[in-house]
């Protein structure tokens, strides 16, 4: 088990790389790495199928919408069906955007699943993040699956009451969908009050010092992982920065031509 602070730094690096990189291949590789770390973090078996379905849905919907509504020039028509035109550049842009989002999300989920809440709380506090914010993050993660189940219950209740009928009028449909958030919100507020009172009465004070049963401990292995990851991250970031300076015609060095080519093709 890695130190939660290391995991936090790794997630920040993944987030930065997802912003820096523009190549679908590099972003895909990053997302695969995050996916593998999620599997290694012990994701419940029943979630795997759902996760794959959600990923495919995100990629498909982003690619489809971007390829249809891509407005920048130049653009190349890939397929025309009547008035609908699918643009090649839009498709590529959609793919990059969706993989970027998936990579960051998988890294965040892996961090949340693999780190007990109290360790996460402790790590965030040690990193200087305000205690109140740390606690908010930790409890939000803790109750996310609960809220997910509640959403399913609300929808099932609506289905039962309406006998499975759904209004065809869009504004009625939208109003009903919005109203379905009401019980989730009310339940979350009640839960928040109950949790806040319980934590308060159990002595949690964001301003006070907390001791820790198992103090989080930074090991030599953590240092090695951090050094290697930081080296890769800094190398990629530096290469990308040099490439950016070249494309903006601010700096050019002939000895770096192969690096410029590699960045264009792979990053």
């Amino acid at each position: 088990m890695f130190d939660p602070r290391l995991k936090f730094i790794l997630v920040l690096m993944v987030g930065s790389l997802a912003v820096i990189l523009n190549s679908a291949a590099a972003l895909g590789l990053l997302a695969v790495g995050c996916g593998l770390s999620l599997i290694a973090s012990g994701i419940p078996a029943r979630w795997k199928g759902r996760a794959v379905a959600i990923i495919l849905a995100i990629v498909w919907s982003t690619v489809l919408s971007q390829s249809l509504f891509y407005g920048q020039q130049p653009r190349t028509a890939l397929l025309e069906i009547g008035p609908l035109v699918f643009w090649r550049e839009g498709l590529e842009h959609g793919l990059v955007q969706s993989i970027r989002f998936i990579g960051i999300s998988l890294a965040g989920i892996a961090l949340a699943i693999s780190t007990p809440p109290d360790k996460l709380l402790s790590a965030m506090q040690k990193m200087g993040i305000p205690s109140g914010l740390c606690f908010l993050t930790v409890t939000a993660l803790r109750f996310m699956p609960t809220v997910g189940n509640e959403i399913l219950t609300v929808r099932a209740a609506r289905r039962h009451r309406s006998g499975g009928r759904i209004s065809r009028r869009p504004w009625v449909l939208i109003a009903t969908e919005v109203s379905l958030l009401m019980p989730i919100l009310a339940r979350s507020l009640r839960r928040a009050r109950s949790l806040a009172e319980s934590m308060h009465i159990r002595g949690f004070d964001p301003r006070a010092h907390r001791s820790s049963r198992q103090a989080i401990c930074w090991t030599l292995r953590d240092t090695w992982v951090l050094m290697s990851s930081a080296s890769i991250f800094l190398s990629v970031a530096s290469a990308k920065a040099l490439y950016l300076l070249y494309t903006l015609e601010l700096t050019y060095h002939p000895k770096l031509r192969s690096l410029y080519g590699w960045c264009r093709d792979w990053l």
């Binding site: 419940p44 078996a45 029943r46 007990p116 809440p117 109290d118 930790v138 409890t139 803790r142 609960t146 509640e150 219950t153 609300v154 099932a156 209740a157 609506r158 039962h160 009451r161 309406s162 006998g163 499975g164 009928r165 209004s167 109203s179 379905l180 009401m182 019980p183 989730i184 009310a186 339940r187 009640r190 839960r191 109950s194 949790l195 009172e197 319980s198 934590m199 308060h200 009465i201 159990r202 002595g203 949690f204 004070d205 006070a208 010092h209 907390r210 001791s211 820790s212 049963r213 103090a215």
Partner: protein
Amino acid sequence: MLRAVGLSYRYPSADSDAVGPIDLKVDPGELVVVTGPTGSGKSTLLRLLAGLLQRHGRGEASGKIEIDGKDPSEIAPHQRATALAYVTQSPGDQIVCRSLLDEVSFGLESTSCDPQTIESTALAWLQRVGLDYPPDLHPESLSGGEQQRLVIGASLAAGAKTVLLDEPLSQLDPKGAQAVIQMLKKMTQDGWAVVVVEHRIQELWDKADRFILMDEGTILFDNPVDSIPLTAFRRLGLSIPPIVDIRDRAELDGCQLKAVQPPSVDPNQTSGPGKLLLKTRAIEVSYTGRKERALETPVLAIDSGERLAILGHNGSGKSTLLRELSQIASEQSLSVAFVPQNADLTLFNSTVQGEIEFGPRERGSDALEQRVHDAVQALGLEDYRTRPPHSLSKGQRVRVAVASALACLPDLLLLDEPTAGQDAAQMHNTMRSIDPLLANRTLIFATHDVQLALSFSTRVIVLEEGQLIFDGPPDEAASVLNPVPPWVHFCHRHGLSVSTVDDAYRQLKCSTQD
């Protein structure tokens, strides 16, 4: 020791005090039960005693509280945790960690306990609250009663010697409730002062040292159990243990109880079962990651007009069976209405009226107004028609959810714990009032309340660890229950069919008159 003098609280924009003025003293070693009708100010009193409303409430608080010489509203949270513990209704909402050990350690860490002693103290508390499981077990694997005990242990671990509990039994089965009560009793023997706010006082009747009865924010009486004026309980519609109730009535009437022959059932009394409504397949449900089946039942045939009660401990598969029945009935094109355990999640309209109208309107049902009127009348919601459902009390919200389901006039109405959070009078009124509206429709309800199940059903299913261990008439179901409730013993001893207290007393009274 807990002492409160002149304690009162007024909510913002209210004309009068919600609570008070109240004087109260609880000594170490005392188990004090605070009860009263819904809205009588019990929970407000508890939050005042915990110092929460003085510190965080927007209303006006006055009076003095002392717990071991300190005012809980004036000390820092980490200091208060060593003097006072407060446990709210829903244990699941109070658990933040992923293991039993971490959960109990949380309070110790917050009070800056020596890291060397945290683990041993937490393990000792897990043992004290009777959770002999691996310390790294996830709290979600525990039953409701066990979660309640975990939260109590987690709240007390920092060293508090006074504990305030808000309806700790409301979601527990009789066995789970017994375990919590025994634990509280043991704590009082070890010197803790315990204050419990509870509707379900039957189980606490012979365990509490004092009962405090509240109504409209004030204390009506504060007496030991042997000098409680039962008339006040009856007037407020609160539950009294049936045996105590019957003996008291007999004493008032100058009757002597004696055994009679079990009465013959009047076929006109309840709407009897009719033709076959639903035939299930053999149900088998397993959850991923668990070896044992969550539910395994044979083929069930359910008739129209049946009132089927599902009994069983927490985690025995009652809710799973209801969900499966709902799905099977939908597959067979029956109209189904289902009120889940957390009835709040079915309330998504802006007013009570809108909520009840929603189902019939969406289904395009005729006589919409009549249906809504009937449901509102039956559930006693006339005064709340224009109120937002989520602004009502828990018991009222459950009634709105039941009324909304009832207004759909479904072939099959499924209710999961419809009586949780309501006092005895409300519970029985709810069940009694929906019966005529349902007429020949079928009602299936899951409950922990054995007396309610045996009184209002024509058939009972008992589940144990996912297996169906009984399916038959209510009278016979009583013998397979574990533990067998004292009320059932009493009825059997007197040759009565297990029924409501009123029916039983009427039969007993007749026998003495004969």
